[in-house]
């Protein structure tokens, strides 16, 4: 009887990349404000990863519209109770912070560094928002399962964190920076995020009860349990504990986390739109 919004792969990627963008940014911001000079690679990669991703996110959102040329119409409104409305604004706001933080990170003058840290601290809020709001957006619809999932935003945020941190660590590994101290810290942060994510996931399923059927039973169940829970969270956590010795394994773990993050968005979006 009810209708789905027919949001396909473009939106799955938007959710996924937006999570990484927000997650990598706020990781960089927190490292910038609470870490040390040794965390510089993490900070740099975090900021500079978020910028192209948020640009891609913007393009995906615009392209998915029925009339893409009218995307600016969303700036006619600001409905703070409407995730879609604030979301349209915040993508831009976050982009602005990402850009500022990136530009400011080019300079090593102390004044710029201090400014950068202040800007990023504020921008962290935008980063949290970008990673999580799409979950709140889904649960503010009339569709069963989505509308009953109170923890969807919280889950997306945790996933944004885990995938953002995994992305940073993967890029660090590929650029040869895994020898630095920053690698260990971002890995540690990632492990904390993954545990938080698993806990929230358990609460998420618990609160939903039988309403979670679209993802825990039927054709999407293998992807959910296998792709997200096992391959995307449990195995990488296990690998990571081992991989403090073998960095390559840790890097593989990061890839798996990214994979799991993608599967999470895919399953949540597609399971009731099939």
């Amino acid at each position: 009887m009810l209708k789905t919004p027919d949001w396909g792969m473009m939106i799955v990627f938007y959710f996924f990349l937006g999570g990484i963008a927000g997650g990598s940014y706020f990781t960089a911001a927190i490292a910038d404000n609470f870490g040390s000079a040794k965390d510089r690679p993490v900070i740099r990669i975090g900021y500079w990863l978020s910028l192209p991703l948020v640009l891609i996110c913007g393009i995906l959102l615009i392209a998915d519209l029925g009339v893409p040329a009218r995307f600016l119409n969303m700036l006619f409104m600001f409905k703070f109770w409407d995730p879609m409305s604030i979301g349209a604004w915040m993508v831009g706001v976050f982009g602005l912070f990402s850009f500022l933080s990136c530009v400011l990170s080019l300079s090593s003058s102390e004044a710029m560094v201090t400014l950068r840290r202040k800007v990023s601290l504020v921008g962290t809020l935008a980063g949290f928002f970008l990673a999580s709001y799409t979950g709140v957006l889904l649960s503010a619809t009339a569709l069963p399962f989505w509308s009953e999932a109170r923890l969807m935003g919280a889950l997306f945020l945790a996933s944004g964190a885990s995938t953002g941190m995994a992305a940073i660590s993967l890029l660090l590994f590929l650029s040869g920076g895994s020898a630095g101290e920053g690698w260990g810290k971002v890995k540690r942060a990632d492990r904390y995020s993954m545990v938080i994510e698993l806990v929230i996931l358990a609460l998420f399923l618990g609160l939903l009860g039988s309403a979670a059927a679209p993802i825990i039973q039927g054709q999407f169940a293998p992807l959910f349990w296998g792709g997200l829970v096992v391959v995307g969270l449990v195995i990488p956590l296990a690998l990571d504990f081992v991989g403090s010795k073998a960095k390559a394994l840790s890097a593989v773990a990061a890839v798996l986390v990214l994979f799991g993050g993608f599967i999470l968005r895919y399953v949540l979006l597609m399971s009731i739109q099939a």
Binding site: F34, G35, L65, N73, W81, D82, F128, L137, A142
Partner: protein, 261 residues
């Protein structure tokens, strides 16, 4: 704000002729679609982007051997608290001075959030135009002293149009009359502003429970949980943020970072 207008669909008078369905298509110049086989006379299971008024046919054999065949002309409810309107990020969905809800086709950018935000599954996306569309409450007609095309076409006056307060008063009397005639299940759906969604500006007289007509018993505004969901997200952010702080914080060097970047 002008006086609120409403459509009152009294299904006890409906003969399922579908003049309303066709009059609506004709007035709005909606193109033909491929009909669906539903196993009944109904030609679409639900509203589409090109069918704004849909007559439903529901066969219900009764315990006493009688057959009840419910004929119901369904339409957008023009809710006083409308999920689609609250969801629309461009403001294309707006409420007219008459209380009706309309989608401005010149403004809609086709994000489709409204499609998923209607508790009744009314709003649909038109793939040809790239915009969302639904019953306009014949916006052009009501701004020119006329009523909706469906109400005009209905031969038995099952669809009535007028000021909401007058129609509600009439509808309440009608329920009593029907109960007196033996229709014990007669009830109004959406007439009472205190019941749900602030009341519906297209409300119904049903002869049975709402579920019989695939209507939700107590429809709710989809945006009601945004605050709670947001708080829970903030909680998640706090946890994740604390975890990251703990992971990156230098022992013995205090907060605020140190050294040069």
């Amino acid at each position: 704000m002008a006086r609120t207008l409403a459509m009152f669909t009294d299904i006890s008078l409906c003969i399922g002729c579908r003049a309303c369905q066709v009059a609506c298509k004709q007035w709005n110049e909606l193109p033909m679609e491929d009909p669906e086989w539903t196993g009944t006379y109904q030609n679409h299971a639900h509203f589409t982007d090109k069918t704004y008024r849909l007559v439903r046919f529901i066969e219900k054999p009764q315990a006493d051997g009688r057959l009840q065949w419910d004929l119901m002309s369904d339409v957008c409810k023009h809710c006083a608290q409308a999920g689609c309107l609250e969801a629309c990020p461009t403001g294309a969905i707006y409420r007219t001075e008459y209380g009706t809800v309309n989608i401005n086709q010149d403004m809609c950018n086709g994000c489709r959030y409204c499609v998923s935000s209607c508790p009744f599954g009314v709003v649909a996306f038109n793939h040809d135009t790239g915009r969302a569309s639904k019953c306009t409450f014949c916006n052009d007609r009501i701004h020119n002293g006329l009523g909706p095309a469906c109400a005009k076409a209905c031969p038995t006056e099952s669809i009535q149009f007028g000021f909401r307060d007058e129609l509600v008063a009439k509808a309440k009397k009608r329920v009593e009359t029907l109960k007196g005639m033996g229709f014990r299940g007669a009830n109004l759906y959406g007439a009472d502003s205190n019941e749900f969604l602030g009341g519906l500006n297209a409300f119904f007289l049903l002869l049975d429970k709402p579920g019989t007509y695939n209507l939700p018993d107590k429809p709710k505004l989809p945006q009601r949980n945004v605050f709670v969901d947001s708080l829970l997200s903030v909680g998640s952010a706090v946890l994740v943020g604390l975890g990251a702080i703990v992971a990156f914080r230098e022992r013995g060097e205090g907060k605020g970072g140190g050294g040069n970047a």
